[in-house]
Amino acid sequence: MDAPHENSIQAHALVREFKKGPRAVDGIDLHVDPGEIYGFLGPNGAGKSTTVHMLTTLLPPTAGTATVAGYDVVKEGPRVRKVIGAALQEAALDPFLTGREHLRLQTTMHGITGEDRRLRSEELLTRVGLTEAADRKVKGYSGGMKRRLDLALALVHRPQVLFLDEPTTGLDVQSRTALWVEVGRLAKEEGVTVFLTTQYLEEADVLADRVGIIDHGRIVAEGTPEKLKAEIACSTVEAVPASPGQRGVLATVLERFGAQTTGYGPGSVAVQLSSSNGNLADIVRALDAEGVILSQLQIHEPTLDDVFLAKTGRHLEGAGDEEEQESEQIAQPASV
């Protein structure tokens, strides 16, 4: 009988290098606690999926070590596969099988048979809201339904650790929210450790207990979303004067509280507050004293994108796309 292991994920100096390619993962360290939801955030091509493939035993690391639920991903691959569930980037489903047939096949692959198989399939179909569609072929499912079935398939054997590789990409808000609720429930009620890759800031912010930000194969920041935001960025105050003529005075006053920043609405002045430089009430009092009349005043809380920007000098959204375009241009032969 296997010794009990806690559901943690550990990685040390994990590297994956592809032939004739860059280091997709370049020496990352990870520690994910049991029952924790760990958000792995990064742009396209940052190394998220490669990391998941290594941790789920699909891809051997070039260097470094990793354990999942106490099992070494290189030396104990079959044991790792028994205790993990995974929904990879594309919902890899057979369009000609029904949802119920997928569950039957998946349970059989996990050695679950007979009445257990039937009961588990029914339970999961109910949980992901696919009972009515269970006997329909998957080719008629919506993107959200496919993702939910994908999640159900990952859960058939009651995994201790769940890997979700961009589970909500392409889903509408309703389907995304439903999936978040289910993932949250799995971690909180069933103690499942969740390793979630995403390129959506909101997803990591809402769902993850801790976030690791990966770029070019390296982890550039790690911590709770709140801690990361507090460390890196402060709130931004944006104000629009009632009269355009007061824009100069407004800027002068606001600059007492922080450095001016760009990227906000036309006609507005925005400053990123330095933490010790007063609060909103102080700003309002200062503006009042100078006779500045505002038509609009907003405070923007820092986001994980601010964290990404601070660490990499780029915004997260679109960062991967830009790089992909650049590499495509490099890869194209010069025209004559």
């Binding site: 890899a92 489903l93 057979d94 050695g111």
Partner: protein
Amino acid sequence: MTATALTQTAALGGRAVIRTARQPANVIFPLVFPMLLFAVNAGGLKAATQLPGFPTDSFVAFALAVPFVQGALLATINANVEFARDIQTGFLNRLALTPVRGIVLLLGQLGGLMTIAVVQAVFYLAVGLAFGVRLESGFGGAAMLLLLEVVIALGFAALGSWAALRTGSTEAVQGLFPVFFVFLFLSSINMPRNLIEADWFRWIATINPVSYLIEAVRSLVIEGWNWEALGLGFAAAGGLSIVGFVLATHALWRRLERT
């Protein structure tokens, strides 16, 4: 093999059958196309039976062997295109993420294809009987024919699976189709080897393993129990199966880099 592995193999084989059955093009084409070719050959080459030394006076009976080989070929190409699609879509990775042994993934696929080939063979046999062909080897010969069809299908299926696993490309597997067809038409498909006049053609047909597959099936239909033809047929089919299986297993090992 453990009971669990057997159950898993059966489940994967069942999935391959269901997937084929739910795509009408993959069902109808391998049934109808060999029968059309059979009808054309049986009608157009009927005069060949007048040649001295031709082994039967019924070209319909002579030509019936071809659909068995051609049908196995078509079915396995179609199913292996789907197998390559499994690789492209990540379905194979889904299966690889379970505790299932790698070899079971291959055996399940091959098992499904062999099942499909047997169903097709029963259809071809029924059509042949309906056209008045009398199976000289009798009821036992029909059973032997189905067994031979299983081994023939295994050979083609294993080679097709190798192509699917090696390339992961549906186009590459489809590309095998004309290659296999060249082998089919450079065999004793339409004429006994001893009656082929062109030396080069007779030589190619003699070294072409497909000739022995066809002649083994043909012997059961028109001769009865010709153990030499059967032995050569099983040896050719078995040889293809072993080579294909070894190549496919190696390709599977390379494809599934899992630890």
